[in-house]
Symmetry: none
Subunit: 154 residues, 2 copies
DNA sequence: CCATACTATACCATGATATCCCATATAATA
DNA sequence: TATTATATGGGATATCATGGTATAGTATGG
């Protein structure tokens, strides 16, 4: 499970260390590295391991072969995904395309999201998190607690 | 079940002993330590075990990268959580972020809350507790007065 | 087909930090 | 009183992030 957040340096080659704690959760059986693609909602990079990417791909196969949405999704996710292998120190090399898209320069923040993670520009994420937090404080907290308690009872 | 309160020292490395009584209640099957995050309501740190956190994560998490609804809450909670492993003496190391947020310096108070617990600045908790108690007292008092008045009317 | 330049990968070095391990004191228990 | 459990402190060790260099692999141009 990907939890917590880590901010690391991006060197002039585009290399970043993937958090050691994340590397533990990454299934490296099929590919020793991660899959990355541009987020659809955020100015950020989505990251996951090969196994989960395969799950997504398989779920796409279930869709009607001739359907439009399948075409769109297949094209946009699978063709836009990068296979980023680890070097011997557990780093990946972020392509210019992704760096530009997420507006990442010298530093990158790895953000845990349970079964996947994201890579952000540190300031952009800080601002986003602050905004979301105040929203949750106002509205949704009781809802979350309620759901959690329900799960406990199972 | 987490009960009662314990106040312990925080050393210059940020280490604190988790109350032995709490450690018994913590499920260490998946992770030998606790999960901690900033409280949404109090100036305090929320603490729970990995198992419970996983339940929360599962209820929030989905692999649907196109959905809008759960994204914000998922990120806010999961990215703000820290995995704090026990050392061989049953201590955890509180990150600066959390210490700062909860305004904890040399001492920390562990507060049992049933299925989870909190970590407070000792004085802050003392004040909060006092306030809560006086609120209850007032309510009881008003209740008694009400009852008394009713009796009078009879 | 060869030579050159560029990129990407592998390998090694280092400093900082967090983790582990041992020692001690205090309190609780037998 | 002896013994165990627990909190606390400090030092040793290992892990990790990060920077640099060397090598291989690939593309480009002659």
């Amino acid at each position: 499970m990907f939890l917590s957040q880590y901010t690391y340096k991006v060197d002039n080659k585009g290399r970043v260390s993937v958090p050691a704690d994340f590397r533990i959760s990454i299934n490296t059986k099929f590919f020793n590295g991660i899959i990355a693609f541009r987020s659809y909602k955020f100015t950020a990079i989505e990251g996951l391991d090969f196994e989960k990417m395969k799950k997504i791909a398989d779920s796409l196969d279930d869709l009607d072969f001739f359907s439009e949405s399948k075409n769109d999704i297949t094209t946009s996710i699978l063709s836009d995904s990068y296979k980023l292998p680890f070097d011997s120190e557990g780093r990946i090399c972020l392509p210019h395309e992704l760096l530009k898209f997420a507006n990442i320069k010298n530093q990158a923040t790895f953000v845990g999201r349970g079964s996947s993670f994201q890579i952000w520009n540190p300031n952009a994420f800080k601002n986003y998190l602050q905004k979301v937090r105040s929203n949750i404080k106002k509205r949704k907290l009781s809802l979350i607690i309620k759901n959690t308690n329900n799960n406990d009872k199972k």
